[in-house]
Symmetry: C2
Subunit: 121 residues, 2 copies
Amino acid sequence: MRAILHVCTTCRGIAADPLAPRPGAQLHAALAAGTVPEGVELRPVECLSACSQGCSVALSAPGKWSYVYGRLGPQDAPDILAGAASYAAAEDGLVPWRDRPAIFRKQSLARIPPTVSDESE
Amino acid sequence: MRAILHVCTTCRGIAADPLAPRPGAQLHAALAAGTVPEGVELRPVECLSACSQGCSVALSAPGKWSYVYGRLGPQDAPDILAGAASYAAAEDGLVPWRDRPAIFRKQSLARIPPTVSDESE
């Protein structure tokens, strides 16, 4: 199954104009306008509950660690897509530190282990 | 499959004494000493990458939204276990707002949608 790149489209970013188009939607548009890597599915979502750290995206796939990143903008789209490609290629989702884009090294908000349990193995 | 309550055991909390026992390990011990609800598995993890917002826990299960909570301590163990029980009972992991413990309403760091894709449905 493909890795999912979830993009919050309702994020206002930090101190954004409340009447302007949502920065989250602009980030999603920038990602959709780029080349989404093989093995990655771009998926919009309304709210990743990281509102104070927006714009935010998350990467997840069954059996892999999940990650949430924040303080992003449309200018980060190429790096986000490159990081998503590395994530999709990593069996457990754990990409070597040096191979992660700087925004993924510095702007991780949280990560969650895979939900595989002893029961289902 | 059961819901997993992941507890970061390496969390130092906010401004904790670096030489004292890790607050994350203390939180894990407080949770393990409580009554872990049916349908919930308590699982320690080294680092949820929410270090500046520790102590932190995460809830996840296949097919459900995942959540990460922060700024927690051993005194929150009963509320965390109650919130985990509600999460385990919610088919999609989305617990009605009024039924969430205050710490889950106010200290959510992020949430991630289920990774079910069109391919696997």
